[in-house]
């Protein structure tokens, strides 16, 4: 739907990190290739997402807010 504000498990604020993560991923995609898993890992390290509970919040998120916008 929309990125949760905090990690479900530990409570770290991850809402703002998702946008930063997205923009770095898009930067790589603009070079016409998909980011490698090592690059994704490095981006998350750079954002200070150390524990895997916070990492999965970002990694498994699907932004669906634009999909439901027309039905509000």
């Amino acid at each position: 739907m929309i990125i949760p504000i905090r990690c479900f498990s530990c409570g770290k604020v991850i809402g703002s990190d998702y946008r930063r993560f997205e923009s770095e991923i898009n930067q790589i995609r603009s070079r016409n290739r998909e980011p490698t898993s090592d690059e994704i890992s490095a981006i998350m390290d750079g954002l200070g997402l150390e524990r895997y509970c916070c990492r999965r919040m970002i990694l498994s998120h699907i932004e669906l807010i634009d999909e439901i916008m027309p039905f509000s």
Partner: protein, 290 residues
């Protein structure tokens, strides 16, 4: 008994929102009590009451917007509550305040959001207007909701002090953990490679006796961690034959981070002040069980 020896705290690493420190000669029980105090007994400010303006909303140009949102108001209110807000630890709990629960500048900060679509609403749009107006959200880029064209969000909110016991939005810390101090003990006779290990590691993590070489992963300075994590040094340790892992059950290594509402230093100070009170409650309830 460990309690007969002197208790000592030494700080290993400290940043604005992160801290790692060692406490020696306490029991596991006290260590865990401190961990739980850090998690759920540090008072902080969080938004507790959100009032939505429903119906038509007009902006200064006279354009008409609708107050319906892509998400339910309850979800938006919950999201607003979870935003970390810079906290003044001198503020009172509302029920203990001199205003007798009515809400005053000593216990309450009011905020409003006035945003029209299309576009995204961020935590930075949360503007304090009564109480201490310095107490803004710590991170202005947390998305709250997305507004479509002709949609608007007009909200007033009140933040009060609370603790993590009541709700996770009043939880200052995350990733609070402690472990025993740990040393890797390498027998010199059985490992020819010990001298290479000794020379490769920073001096601060290496100890030596006649028979043994000890390495600890509880380092003092920053940067050593990255050094230890390099695969070359992992392989040195793995190749050497018997490496004994020793844990010292009197030395506890803590680490925690905060959400920015309080600094790590402030947080540990408050925790250590509140811990004796919590232990006294336990003590009293043992003496006079109801």
């Amino acid at each position: 008994m460990s309690s007969t020896r002197e208790q000592k705290i030494s700080i290993m690493e400290v940043r604005d929102n992160f801290m790692r420190f060692e406490i020696s000669n306490i029991t596991e029980g006290v260590a865990n009590a401190l961990r739980r105090t850090l998690i759920n007994d540090i008072p902080k400010l969080a938004i507790d009451k959100v009032v939505f303006r429903h119906g038509q909303i007009r902006d200064s140009m006279g354009n008409v917007f609708d107050s319906s949102l892509p998400l339910f108001d309850e979800i938006v209110a919950h999201r607003i509550g979870l935003i970390p807000i810079k906290t003044d630890s001198k503020m009172n709990f509302r029920e203990e305040c001199s205003c007798e629960g009515r809400g005053c500048s000593l216990c309450t900060v009011s905020y409003n959001i006035d945003k029209t679509g299309p576009g995204e609403v961020y935590s930075g749009d949360l503007v304090p207007f009564t109480g201490n107006v310095e107490l803004k959200p710590t991170d202005p880029f947390i998305p709250i909701i997305k507004l479509g064209p002709k949609q608007a969000l007009l909200v007033t909110a009140e933040a009060t002090m609370g603790t993590g016991k009541t709700h996770a939005k009043w939880q200052v810390t995350s990733g609070v953990s402690f472990k025993y101090h740990r040393e890797f003990k390498i027998n010199k006779d059985e490992n020819e490679g010990w001298e290479k290990v000794k020379n490769d590691y920073p001096k601060s993590v290496v100890g030596e006796t006649k028979e043994f070489l000890t390495i600890t992963d509880d380092y003092q300075q920053r940067g050593v961690m990255n050094f230890i994590n390099t695969s070359t040094h992992r392989s040195v340790i793995n190749q050497t034959k018997p490496v004994e892992i020793m844990e010292d059950k009197n030395r506890f290594i803590f680490k925690f981070e905060t959400d920015g509402s309080l600094s790590a230093k402030e947080t540990i100070k408050i925790a250590l002040l509140r811990l004796p009170g919590r232990l006294n409650i336990l003590h009293e309830s043992i003496i006079s069980p109801d």
